[in-house]
Subunit: 297 residues, 2 copies
């Protein structure tokens, strides 16, 4: 058995889907869930996502050989501090945070000597829905999971975490934490900010109802990620602040360029920009067919 | 029969779907297609979208009592000028352009005394695919079609155009042309520009391949509209320039506000903005279920 006792801190969409996938694969013995919402934990129990509700870290972590922390990233430091004293000697700890440098700093600050057993991770999968009720055993199938191992990590711990994600059907890739944060600031964090900003701006207008009543399918898909968890995305924005600010500034400059083309009536340059974008997107889709059909990450 | 002979100028996604829907409804006698691409017209003929290919305006428009111009908006002025001399006395003319003030100005300049028979329109439906092969009889079902009638229009002409769109399954609403252009600058034209700008910016980077390889479902949906026709969207951006520039400036300011919240680490204000956006979007979706399941407009 790959995992004898799995402790999930945050039994929501991400943690719950991890448990369901491992159970389906027959790779986990018993699953205990820990979280701040008794209602969510009760639902996770009822749905068979967890086998027991952990009422305190001491009992929940007793005998747990694998711990997944899957909460909004800014909660992680205090959670790491709470669980550190109760970790079993054979426990490996990983996380599912969308930002890595800040989570690693939090883990270093809170886990002390146990830092070597912490293997940072980020599954590139998700949905705009959250909570245990949204969990799916298939969520990670053919998705990427990025691990950003620490210099202190033992090879066998990195391998155990990789094996667990592979058992969920995912592809595991390793990456430097700073590179990770830069990549996801560009392809994930910035788009979320743009979608939230657009919807919030429209919602605040006097004629918001009229505007929404004529919004169609393009608007719906463009803004789907604005239905994602505000708490989770607040934490990501603050956790990856420097890289995100860089992307916002870059996009501001790009938008200023586009504005100038429109203002000058430069039809040729405008069409070239749009054609280049369409061609790049279509080429990406052609390459990634089957690999990018998930919902927001 | 609502329409005896329908002439479609631009037998692509929009014009082709109009024809297919009217044929299915039994509301049209014969359909002639006119366009610049012989290959597309041949395909439209083969798919039963049109019954004949019009080789010149004189013969195509002979006896046509309904003319739909469904091309990129900046082609319309010269097309209006070409078709004006050949219009039958009983012909009503409408268009499917996404911008209305510029199309009306083009029609006034080109149609001369026939302007009273031109009823401007905009079906709020579409797909990111284009051409006759993408046409669907169901494209307009439960979609909005906005008409922006002219002071010169006879009530019966407006009613004929409305009846044709209703026969396609659409809801017809009337609106002032300037109001129309402002509304769609906000909920359609700006999002398209943001999506094109984001993809183009990423595609131009040295590490574009790495970035795309980690883009997931959120990115895919956010950028779907960046696969739309560059020619069509170039024309919309230039045709609705003033309203679009206003929206770009507004969004630039909103993004600067969001940037400040991130830079200052204002977690509460950031979460409020995201929550407001999510709530507004979810409320919109709840209101519009069944009314906004199309693709881009």
């Amino acid at each position: 058995m790959l995992i004898k006792r799995l402790a999930i801190v945050g039994a929501g969409l991400i943690g719950g889907s991890f448990s369901l996938a491992l159970k389906r694969a027959g790779c986990v013995g018993r699953v205990v869930g820990v979280g701040r919402s008794p209602a969510n934990l009760a639902q996770a129990l009822e749905l068979g996502i967890i086998d027991e509700i952990g009422t305190d870290f001491a009992s929940a972590l007793h005998g747990a050989d694998f711990v997944l922390v899957a909460t909004p990233v800014r909660q992680m430091q205090s959670l790491f501090a709470s669980l550190a004293p109760h970790l079993s000697p054979d426990a490996v700890v990983t996380d599912a945070g969308s930002t890595k440098q800040d989570v690693i700093a939090a883990a270093r600050a809170a886990l002390g000597a146990r830092i070597a057993r912490f293997v940072p991770g980020h599954p590139i999968a998700g949905r705009e829905k959250s909570g245990a009720a949204a969990a799916q055993a298939e969520l990670y199938r053919e998705r990427n999971v990025v691990l950003t191992p620490l210099a202190e990590n033992a090879h066998e711990d990195v391998e155990r975490v990789s094996a667990a994600w592979r058992a969920c059907g995912a592809r595991v890739v390793q990456m430097d934490a700073a590179v990770h944060d830069g990549v996801f600031a560009a392809v994930s964090h910035l788009p979320h900010m743009l979608a939230y900003a657009l919807v919030d701006d429209i919602a605040a207008r006097d004629n918001a109802q009229t505007l929404f009543s004529f919004a169609a399918g393009g608007f719906r898909d463009f803004t789907r990620i604005a239905s994602s968890s505000p708490e989770m995305w607040r934490d990501i924005a603050l956790g990856n602040r420097d890289a995100l600010l860089e992307e916002i500034d870059r996009f501001r400059d790009k938008l200023a360029q586009l504005r100038a083309l429109v203002a000058q009536g430069d039809a040729a340059a405008l069409e070239k920009m749009m054609s280049d974008a369409r061609d790049a997107r279509d080429a990406w889709l052609a390459r990634s067919t089957g690999a990018s059909q998930s919902s927001p990450e």
